[in-house]
């Protein structure tokens, strides 16, 4: 690791202590959570998180991963960001019929590392919420000329699911009320750019494939493995592909982004014969996106995001 050891040791020790304390708190909460015995709990925990750019590219995002939302998809992509950046988005499915999803993430660059943390929450009309919080960093293991590199990243991810039990479960003796579970896991990612216009990626989310609760009241949280490739042509257009495996379901995602003469990037993508698209405006100190995605027949996800930079490095195109 090319971490500088000459300065900032005390800062790092305090940061590590803070992270350790946070991890301990999450683990304690996870262990102490008592799984209520009842029917009606969510069948699965949907751990995949889609940012607006990911949605606009139909999910073919992990080999690009060029904004702070990479912390949710491929932490190694954080090396494509820099300076200090703040990201927030909101996506809604089916005009409110589906989940409403909001995210917030922030990252900064220090000691040639990029650190980021972010949280997301999906809310459903029946009162079920699925929340996640991720914190991690990325590092360049190898740096070549003309922009080639090999980066790795990792993140700890805490998940929380909460739901309402409107009726008591008499056989299992569970009263009506609101219940919640916590779980902790980790993500890893790799990104390789052997040439400045080719990007390859491999990442996994929920590496321990943990779930919520236990026994017959277990709410599974599937591991997600992604790998993909992208062609980046002189910051003019990108073609990306991602293969994703989640809970035994294999999907391929194809994305296309094209930058116009004005700082507007048009995005389009397809997966499972559903199309996605959107646009991203790059205003230098900020970027804003508006995207849509087809979740099912006659069901649309639409969303928007804003990303603000402080000390944006020149290597990120504007």
């Amino acid at each position: 690791l090319r971490v500088s050891l000459e300065k900032g040791n005390s800062d790092r020790r305090s940061s590590i202590r803070a992270v350790a304390a946070w991890l301990a708190a999450v683990l304690t909460a996870s262990v102490l959570a008592v799984p209520p015995a009842h029917a009606g709990q969510p069948e699965r925990f949907d751990g995949t998180v889609s940012s607006t750019r990911s949605t606009g590219l139909a999910g073919a995002f992990s080999p690009l991963a060029d904004d702070i939302s990479a912390i949710f998809v491929n932490p190694a992509g954080l090396m494509n960001t820099g300076g200090i950046a703040v990201y927030a988005d909101y996506l809604e499915t089916g005009g409110g019929a589906g989940p409403r999803e909001g995210k917030f993430a922030a990252g900064f660059e220090m000691w040639d590392l990029v650190f980021a943390a972010g949280g997301s929450q999906k809310s459903y009309d029946d009162g079920t919420t699925e929340g996640q919080f991720s914190a991690g960093f990325a590092i360049n293991l190898l740096t070549g000329s003309a922009g080639s590199f090999l980066s790795a990243g990792g993140a700890l991810r805490a998940g929380r699911v909460a739901f309402d039990l409107p009726e008591p479960c008499v056989p299992c003796g569970t009263p009506a009320g609101r219940y919640s579970y916590n779980a902790l896991t980790a993500d890893l990612g790799l990104m390789i750019r052997p040439l400045p216009f080719i990007s390859l990626s491999l990442s996994t989310e929920n590496i321990s494939e943990t779930g919520f609760g236990s026994g017959e009241y277990h709410i599974p949280w599937d591991r997600t493995v992604r790998y993909g490739a992208a062609w980046l042509h002189e910051d003019r257009f990108t073609i990306s592909w991602e293969h994703r495996s989640t809970g035994g379901r294999e999907t391929d995602h194809f994305g296309f982004g094209l930058r116009t003469a004005i700082p507007l990037e048009l995005m389009a993508g397809m997966t499972s014969e559903r199309v996605y698209g959107g646009a991203r405006w790059d205003g230098g100190r900020w970027r804003a996106s508006a995207v849509f995605g087809q979740e099912a027949e006659s069901v649309i996800t639409a969303g928007a995001s804003i990303e603000v930079f402080f000390n944006r490095p020149a290597r990120i195109y504007q």
């Binding site: 094209l258 116009t260 004005i262 698209g277 646009a279 027949e297 006659s298 069901v299």
Partner: protein, 514 residues
């Protein structure tokens, strides 16, 4: 209106043309001039020929009728070799013939049939003398609209799209006068390839007689149109129309009127058929004939200031009665609307903002109301063009459309998003078509299309070009790019598209020519 038969109209037209031809020729002959001795040089004589091969193989998922099963809307979309020859002499004689192989019957029969025999597809023999022109034509798009408001004669109309054959005579006086007569026969499309495509004797089928005359002066214009369509035993349609225009307040006021009925003797109420008693300022159209159409527009009204740019307004009125049937044109039936369009072109921006407000009523639906259409067009840095449009109509949900087009040496992309507030739920449509030039010959493209939140369509294509000599394109997907773009952008009531997965290989090869 007197009862006039179709044949009498044709005879009268021929006599009229002969008289005018004689008069004009006499006048021209009297003008002995040096121009006549300096006739068209012989070097204008020459000939040219050319040949093209076009082939399309399409593999569809259901694969019945392979390989000639593409949903062609045109008779000349798929596999064929076309050879053309043209010879002309001195600017007064022109001969053109185009032969082709391959013909598809669509529309006439419920099944899709392809015949690969060779036949004469198009052609003409035309001559001109002292400004007068005559032409025998075979299935060419010869009909003209003279930039009128109403498309009273159109090559894309229900009848003429059958691509008839016949005689076209055009007389032009040395002044601003124009007189044309066109006679055409429209036989069954399925028989056009018989006898190598030579025109069938005009014994059966539908016949068109079209007489147009007009005068155009700098400050005013006037025109007359007479047409009838029918077979030996009956008339299908008889149409007459008047058009005129004059300059007023820096603009042009154009007024056009036409009536149509199945037979000439069905017109009632005099030449115009207007019932003045039923007409009022509140309901002007009540006095107009139900078999008539009236359109008027005041164009060219505009003002310009150095600081603000240019402004303009275009008021107009359109009426088409609920029994006005126009098989040779594209005038709709059964509506009335008055509209005002305003536009502003800012001085220092490549932008155009327009607002069109209309009061529209449709007789078939017995409903109407206000309609408003707003458009913002911008050309941005690097030639990027963006357009935002919104449609609001009383009784309907609004429609919003935003589109972007960027075309440069490396890439081309056009994208549009459209939101139909369809009541209860919003239907969202999105299309993007993009292409990347890889070197000078290759081009990689793709498109994605979401239609009304319901179905997703996609396609990818690879194209290689060899200058003007050939183009080969391979594509795969579940719709044909290019078909959805215009409809998504311009038709507020676009229907859903059906698509099948298909792989296509298209080739167009230039065989040679001069």
């Amino acid at each position: 209106v007197r009862v006039i038969s179709r044949r009498k109209i044709a005879a009268c037209a021929a006599v009229l043309i002969a008289l005018i031809t004689a008069a004009l020729s006499g006048a021209a002959l009297g003008r002995e001039s040096a121009d006549e001795t300096a006739a068209a040089p012989d070097t204008l004589s020459g000939y040219r020929w050319g040949g093209v091969y076009e082939g399309l193989i399409r593999l569809r998922e259901d694969a019945w009728g392979f390989p000639w099963n593409d949903p062609a809307d045109y008779s000349h979309l798929t596999d064929r070799i076309s050879l053309m020859f043209e010879a002309r002499h001195g600017g007064w004689f022109d001969f053109f013939v185009k032969g082709t192989t391959g013909h598809r019957y669509d529309g006439d029969r419920w099944w899709d049939t392809y015949e690969s025999g060779i036949f004469i597809d198009q052609g003409h023999i035309s001559g001109s003398w002292r400004g007068q022109e005559a032409s025998l034509f075979l299935r060419e798009r010869i009909f003209r609209n003279r930039n009128r408001l109403m498309m009273l004669i159109s090559n894309d109309s229900r009848l003429i799209r059958k691509r008839g054959e016949g005689l076209d005579i055009s007389l032009s006086a040395p002044g601003p006068f124009l007189l044309t007569w066109t006679g055409a026969a429209f036989g069954p499309v399925s028989e056009q390839t018989e006898n190598f495509g030579l025109p069938a004797p005009p014994i059966e089928g539908e016949f068109l007689n079209l007489l147009e005359c007009g005068i155009r002066r700098p400050s005013w214009s006037a025109g007359l149109t007479l047409a009838d369509v029918g077979s030996d035993i009956s008339n299908e349609s008889a149409t007459y129309g008047l058009d005129g225009g004059f300059r007023a307040a820096g603009g042009d006021i154009i007024i056009e009127f036409a009536r149509a009925a199945q037979r000439w003797d069905e017109f009632e109420g005099g030449f115009f058929g207007i019932d003045l008693d039923a007409m009022s300022w509140e309901n002007f159209s009540a006095g107009l004939p139900s078999d008539g159409t009236l359109m008027a527009e005041w164009t060219g009204l505009g003002w310009k200031t150095e600081s603000s740019g240019r402004f303009g307004i275009t008021p107009g009125y359109r009426y088409s009665g609920d029994t006005f049937i126009n098989p040779i044109g594209e005038v709709g039936t059964g509506f009335v609307e008055s509209y005002l369009e305003t536009w502003w072109k800012p001085a220092k921006l490549a932008a155009l903002i327009s607002l069109k407000a209309a009061d529209r009523y449709r007789y078939a639906a017995s409903a109407g109301g206000g309609v408003m259409e707003t458009t913002l067009w911008l050309r941005l840095r690097g030639g990027v063009e963006t357009t935002a449009r919104a449609f609001f109509a009383e009784g309907y949900r609004p429609v919003y459309i935003v589109s972007v087009v960027d075309d440069n040496s490396l890439t081309r992309v056009q994208a549009a998003g459209r939101l139909d507030d369809a009541g209860g739920t919003s239907e969202f449509s999105f299309i993007t078509e993009a292409g990347i030039n890889i070197g000078r010959r290759w081009r990689l493209g793709g498109s994605m299309y979401l239609e009304r939140s319901d179905r997703g369509f996609y396609s990818a294509d690879l194209e290689v070009r060899g200058g003007h000599r050939y183009i080969v394109r391979a594509s795969a997907g579940n719709y044909i790019p290019g078909t959805a773009w215009a409809r998504l952008n311009h038709d507020p009531e676009a229907p859903l598209t059906l698509g099948d997965k298909a792989i296509s290989l298209y080739a167009r090869i230039w065989l040679g020519g001069i």
